[in-house]
């Protein structure tokens, strides 16, 4: 076992990891941050997306030891300082962008990476950017609406269904 230290949501956190420990398992099992979900465990579904040094990555396909020293943001770090939902999270709630909620942490992390790169994306840019995030419930429509709304654009321009 080797000690791994990360800055997670602004706080320095350490724990022991094996070579094979994935960043997703390190966050969930060692640091107790279970907001990051593991869906497919094969880099297909995006439920495990976190930001490493400002970039969206699939934490199920990244070794904790390879991320050592890095700056990680997880869904637990997304809320506003007073604990209220941030703009993207609130938009998911307002537009019913989730049903079971399993994919939501990854969706929110990917959406926030998108808006950091492209603050006013079109509907098609949003759909394209979220290709690596799979949702089995919503049919995506309300997720795309939520991201449009979070970017300050009128979500009603989208077709109803």
């Amino acid at each position: 076992m080797t000690k791994v230290t990360l800055t997670v949501n602004g706080k320095s956190m350490s724990g022991e990891a094996e070579g094979r420990t994935l960043l997703a398992s390190f966050l969930r099992d060692t640091l107790g941050l279970t907001g990051t979900h593991i869906g497919c465990d094969t880099s297909q579904c995006g439920a495990c997306v976190v930001h490493l040094d400002g970039k969206a990555v699939k934490s199920c396909t990244l070794l904790a030891m390879d991320a050592d020293g890095g700056n990680v943001t997880t869904i637990e770090g997304m809320a506003n300082a007073d604990g209220s939902l941030n703009t993207i999270q609130q938009a998911f709630q307002d537009h019913h962008g989730l049903q079971c909620g399993f994919c939501t942490p990854g969706m929110v992390m990917s959406a926030s990476a998108l808006l950091a790169e492209n603050p006013k994306p079109t509907e098609s840019e949003i759909r394209h950017y979220l290709e690596g995030n799979i949702c089995r419930c919503t049919g995506y429509h309300n997720i795309v609406k939520a991201v449009l709304a979070a970017s300050g654009q009128d979500a009603n321009v989208m077709a109803a269904e």
Binding site: G19, D41, K55, T61, L62, L114
Partner: protein, 262 residues
């Protein structure tokens, strides 16, 4: 996945030393290697991470050549190659999804040589040179069939040198579930002729479509390929497409690439 030792050298020399152990294997973005280890298709004793080696990263213009470090991310190529070799940047920007592009690297893709991967088409169509820890390999000698390359055990790719073409484009017919190429064509026009490389179609992995090259070298237009398609013999057949379908796509995607070339 089985456990292993993990080392993260900061220079190519240290990485090569660590890889002299038979049980060691390089780890770049891990987007292919880690899933294959989870399936226990691969069980190295030591993983030697290349992600901490600065000399393996970056996009650099040297005259008429674009040099890309082996550990350069797909996302970085999509951004930084755009001003120099737009078709290559566009190819990188279509690999997988954003999170895959933020970890996956050109060196990992070329070492793996998946028969449906995108970069091999660009490398072969550009007549690029693969620079390794101990030699330079011409693209025409490098790809040796699906998942097979000229790399020796312990040898690592350090960079790829792309001669910049006059015009080029990549046209990818996306396999919708994996987002790899069901068939992809990369077309590149140089002063001395046109090169066409096809990925995703053949059981032998990426290949040059010589009939297409001959037709385009005398007339660089989609019309020059009218009615032409690949040979169904030796093409991949799976639930996504028959060999005949892929052979047809060879012509279709090459025509699309020629029309889009810039």
């Amino acid at each position: 996945m089985y456990n292993f030792d993990f080392v993260k050298p900061s220079s190519v020399a240290e990485a090569v030393k660590a890889l002299s152990d038979d049980e060691a294997q390089p780890l770049s973005g891990g987007q292919t290697l880690l899933p294959s280890m989870k399936q226990r298709l691969n069980a190295p004793g030591t993983l030697v991470s290349l992600t901490g080696i600065a000399e393996l990263k970056g996009v650099k213009r040297e005259g008429d050549t674009l040099v890309i470090g082996a550990a350069t991310l797909h996302a970085t190529v999509a951004k930084e190659a755009a001003a120099h070799y737009p078709a290559l940047a566009e190819l990188a920007g279509q690999i997988g999804d954003p999170a895959v592009r933020n970890r996956g690297t050109i060196g990992g893709s070329l070492a793996n040589n998946d028969p449906s991967a995108c970069y091999p088409a660009a490398v072969l169509a550009s007549g690029a040179t693969i620079v390794t820890s101990n030699r330079e390999i011409a693209a025409d000698d490098y790809f040796q069939g699906m998942f097979t390359t000229a790399l020796e055990p312990g040898e690592i790719i350090t960079a790829v040198r792309f001669p910049i073409p006059q015009k080029a484009a990549y046209a990818k017919f996306v396999q919708p579930a994996s987002r790899f190429a069901l068939t992809g064509a990369f077309v590149a026009q140089y002063a001395d002729g046109v090169r066409v490389a096809i990925t995703g179609a053949s059981e032998g992995g990426v290949f040059r479509w010589s009939e297409g090259e001959a037709a385009l070298s005398s007339n660089f237009s989609a019309d020059a390929l009218k009615g032409m398609s690949g040979e169904a013999e030796g093409m991949i057949g799976d639930l996504h497409g028959t060999p005949a379908y892929r052979a047809h796509l060879v012509g279709v995607m090459t025509r699309r690439a020629v029309s889009a070339a810039h």
